[in-house]
């Protein structure tokens, strides 16, 4: 049976804030390597043993997912867009229904998109070894041998191997995040594994178990996929049909209830990079034990993680086991052993209305990116980068006028009925209410400074008249 990777890329990320944001979770960022974690996840299963991956994500991140995979030469079989977040049971069910509709049963290799797997070869070998059990109807959970007492993960208790099968073990029980004492016993016993959220099973068997143990999810997802619409490579399940699906994890909905669960113990250099402390653990470090990226100067600093992503130099003196992360709009300073509290301060800031919790300073769009550089009363300044050959939508704004100055590259500018080419050091003006479009006809990125003037400057002041990326008239994404 063919193996189809199912990459789950939903959800928000705040534990690596301020590097990650609610709208820019860590799977979309280059955290450990120069590739994003989503790219690493997809590349891990780019061999002849695997089909093209199926991605489950959401509307907001669809262009990220598409362009990041495109950048590593991967074209997904489809990108399924969850109408709402309904947790992993429904997400996997969407993918299972997609496979089912294709006609041929397949094995589904379910993977979160934001985990580190150092030993990709070992991982693929384990998948291959688990395939026969999955073909025979088992629901295989990959179990990570614990190397520390961790209360933030679910655990799987395994029984002794039975019969001829020496690779997978029977599951005694799933345990959700345990108390410290229980976790200590689990790790000491040698019979418990971390539940990494990586699974292998056939689509048909998964759907059968789901129908039995979680019929509401089964029904909602089946109906949503039957009424789904296609737009290029994007699949949109019917929102109204999907909405009633319970919001629960696959562990809770299926794995803990089925009699067909087995565990496949693996040693694959796994980490969920769940905090700055975990990231420091797995990062390359200098001789002082520091993981440093960006413009950082140190004096007597050890065992720390230091990141500068904005324009500012981080100058650190006399730090030990600290995290310092500077972005253009937010700076985090904390001891590494308080890394779990990043979540708490982010919640506090979110409640106080801090924009830096949700939005990154640089916003990615299907055509390139923009970044707000300055702003004040009735104006703001943005740097806009348009990819070669790309084009923004034909649009107009009700409340703001725009001044555009080309600083690198060539722009094709439509203002009203006039189309003109602007070179470096040339400018144009778009009065409020005027239909306009910006495109890059060149082979190099176009850099443009936009000065917006107006009493209202929100991103939602946009009316799209035509868009090559299929965005609707008022879609600000």
């Amino acid at each position: 049976m063919k193996i189809r990777p199912i990459i789950l890329s939903g959800g928000a990320g705040t534990r690596l804030w301020p590097m990650s944001r609610v709208t820019l979770p860590k799977q979309l960022l280059p955290i450990v390597t120069e590739r994003t974690m989503l790219q690493e996840t997809a590349c891990r299963v780019r061999t002849a043993d695997f089909e093209q991956p199926l991605i489950v994500t959401d509307e907001e991140h669809r262009f990220f997912v598409e362009s990041q995979l495109d950048a590593v030469g991967i074209t997904p079989a489809a990108i399924i867009l969850e109408p709402q977040g309904r947790n992993t049971a429904a997400a996997i069910a969407l993918a299972a229904n997609w496979i089912s509709a294709e006609g041929e049963d397949q094995l589904m290799l379910v993977m979160p998109s934001d985990h580190l797997v150092r030993n990709a070869h070992g991982f693929r070998r384990a998948v291959a070894a688990a395939a026969s059990a999955a073909v025979e109807g088992a629901l295989v959970a990959f179990g990570i041998r614990p190397d520390s007492v961790h209360t933030g993960y679910g655990y799987i208790e395994a029984g002794d191997s039975v019969g001829e099968d020496e690779t997978t073990l029977p599951v005694i029980r799933f345990v959700e995040k345990p108390a410290r004492e229980a976790a200590e016993q689990f790790v000491a016993s040698g019979r418990f594994y971390w539940n990494a959220g990586i699974f292998l099973f056939s689509a048909s068997r998964f759907l059968a178990e789901l129908g039995q143990h979680a019929p509401e999810i089964s029904e909602a997802v089946r109906s949503a996929m039957e009424q789904s619409t296609n737009d290029r490579n994007f699949v949109r399940p019917n929102p109204a049909a999907f909405a009633p699906s319970p919001n629960i994890s696959v562990d809770y909905a299926v794995m803990e209830k089925t009699g067909a669960a087995v565990v496949m113990p693996v040693d694959i250099g796994w980490s969920d990079i769940g905090s700055w402390a975990t990231l420091w653990n797995v990062s390359a470090k200098d001789e002082a034990g520091n993981s440093v990226a960006g413009d950082v100067v140190t004096l007597d600093v050890s065992d720390s993680i230091l990141r500068s992503q904005g324009d500012a130099t981080v100058a650190a003196i006399g730090l030990h086991k600290m995290v310092v992360v500077a972005t253009r709009d937010a700076i985090l300073v904390a001891p590494l052993d308080r890394a779990e509290d990043v979540k708490t301060i982010v919640q506090k800031m979110d409640a106080a209305g801090y924009g830096s919790v949700n939005s990154p300073t640089r916003v990615y769009r299907p055509w390139g990116s923009y970044e707000r550089m300055d702003g004040g009363e009735r104006f703001q300044t943005k740097r806009i980068v348009v990819n070669p050959g790309a084009s923004l939508s034909l649009q107009k704004h009700k409340h703001r006028s725009e001044h555009w100055i080309v600083v690198n590259g060539t722009a094709e500018v439509t203002v009203g009925h006039q189309v003109s080419l602007l070179q470096e050091n040339e400018s144009t003006y778009i009065p409020a209410g005027t239909v306009h479009r910006l495109a890059n006809p060149g082979s190099e990125p176009l850099h443009l400074i936009e000065v917006q003037c107006g009493s209202y400057l929100g991103e939602d002041d946009i009316l799209r008249i035509d868009d090559r990326y299929g965005r609707s008239a008022t879609d600000a994404s």
Copy 2:
């Protein structure tokens, strides 16, 4: 005899980096109060007992000094511009010669411009009490009773009071920065005072002592002032005549050698704000012991000093006795007990060519200010603020073109022979090589976005044709 305040405002500042910079020392910044330390120093002696102050500073800071004093309604008697830094002996001698040239002998109250004096009333009372000794020919040094063992200050050993004079004490000796053991003995003895660099003496007596103990300084400064030029309120001593002056402190040149020195013990809430630790000591603190300014969010932070000056939020977790200072281009993180090492890391960064060591992100000019907001290959973006009624010089650039967009207020723009008014949301273009001028004819500050394009964008690409502030053709200040 009248008392003339002499405010010394020379020298660079790095110990409060990144808030202070080499070109923006701490006397020009609002460090403890909302006024700058220079303003506080001048306001401290704004009573009927004192003449208008005489300021000694340098070319680079002349407009800062003038506009900061103007902002608190103080017009200095004169602003003497040191052609080169030659330490306090020569700086005080410049002022003494200025008084001497006015014809009437006066008492000189010499004050550094960057010290905190909490008890201004007590300070003025001490000056009044010391005046009679100064009139009779004494060189009075104000001595601070030590409240800690400090090895960074000079000490003055005082003898027992003699005769009827119960206010000043005879000086036994001056001791430069002592070793710790010596400093401990000094403080324990009760006979030693910190030398705060505040002095009171008559101009005639100072010049006589200087002529006797430091004839080279005396001669160089006399000659430089005889050949000085005046420009509005600025006095420029002759650079060639001034250059040979030895570069030594008034303590070393005069106070340690004269037989006329006395010490006036004072208890005036003095601090030199010599480091972030000292600043934390004297700052207002919240109930957790934190001194916080700007956009800062904390979780379990105590006894720390936290500053955000740029656009970024500082989010601090679990810090104790730390300093975190964020500016647009540099972020300092250190334990308070390593505050003295700021100097070391700044030297390290200076050696590595970091611009943030020297220049502030916002640059002040006589007409207003500018701040670089963005920049890349062959372009940069600045926010320019022009004060009401102010005007930049008539100028041209060889290498760069400029795009101006008015975002607040009204601009009077000269481009070539054309003069026009630009309102909010209007723009203009100045090709390289074209003579131009920007002015604010309105009554509100003018905010303008400038996008510069060109292969060379340095501040020294400027040719001034006409300047109302008396700056020369190539003066970039």
